[in-house]
Symmetry: none
Subunit: 190 residues, 2 copies
């Protein structure tokens, strides 16, 4: 078995590692028929982190993917909207939204649905929640289809007042009154 030269081995090492980040130095040493130390030197020169870091990196990418999917910008799907007037959205309570014990949806998802809807209904470049008074009337269970309706009550040039009611099969589960701050310029800075 003819061994590779340094540069060649390092190229192959890079390929190997990026195609399978789970390879330990020991395995790599076997593969390239060199000592572990050589592999370590190679990694040092090529700035390849150790196996655990490589795996963590892969895992983080995976979780980030999920996060960007699950931490959606908008909770619920908007099914009807009349800007500056009213909007409707649908949110289905899935496994990830409920407490494990009793399968009741965590309150912040209902809030998020209502809040997203309020942001969406305001036809302005910037819309931030200023205050909210909310009531969780009835628990929402796993699988429930929550229809949320936002109605804009008034807009006085800076603040919009919005009433939101959410229902599951015609039954009220959540209601809230939101004050949204908005501007055309985005000049809000605290």
């Amino acid at each position: 078995m003819v061994k590779y030269k340094k540069t060649e081995r390092q190229e192959l090492l890079l390929e190997r590692v990026s195609s399978d980040p789970f390879l330990t130095d020991e395995r790599l040493a076997e593969i390239f028929k060199v000592s572990i130390q050589t592999i370590r030197l190679d990694r040092l020169e090529l700035d390849i982190p150790e196996v655990r870091e490589r795996i963590k990196h892969v895992a983080r990418e995976e979780t980030d993917k999920i996060r960007s999917l699950s931490l959606q910008e908008v909770i619920g799907e908007i099914i009807d909207i009349e800007l500056n007037d009213h909007a409707l959205s649908l949110f289905i309570a899935e496994e990830g939204h409920v407490f494990k014990k009793n399968k009741i949806a965590r309150g912040h998802y209902l809030f998020a649905q209502a809040n997203s809807l309020c942001v969406a209904v305001i036809d302005q470049p910037l819309a931030l929640t200023k205050t909210a008074h909310i009531d969780f009337v009835r628990p929402v269970k796993l699988g429930d289809k929550v229809i949320s309706k936002a109605v804009v009550e008034n807009m006085d040039g800076r603040i919009a007042t919005i009433q939101v009611v959410s229902k599951v099969e015609q039954r009220l589960v959540f209601k809230g009154r939101f004050e949204m701050y908005y501007t055309g310029e985005g000049e809000y800075d605290g």
Copy 2:
């Protein structure tokens, strides 16, 4: 400082670990205020593998599998807790939490942090949000470290009243008053 009982701690441990597989025994011991050995015993009983194995597992999983499994249940990391009295959590506003345009965090994440904290601070099998009055005092920007503090004002047997304030670098960004419904039995059904 009232610690959790074994079974309760183990349930919470499961949730914690499945929502964040990167937690080491050391971190978990800090979180639950028990020794590392206790965490190890818990993992042994619950068949939870060590961090590295968990990470490997995450790294190998298909993305859509994870999507259904590990939607984040809790927003923010609890850093101090005295059951039925007060609790502190940290939430860092990341890319997924902010509006693309102006990098201001969406209100429902701040709400979610506060809401999660209220659920956590109540030492009862069932705790649901009943009402909330909230103010978004100042916008939270990308990268901001939000420290949220929940203080239980009173618990009258069914309803707990909790004040929450959230700050970024000592400056108030959010405050709210939450009423939480709780029972020992879970007999709430609407």
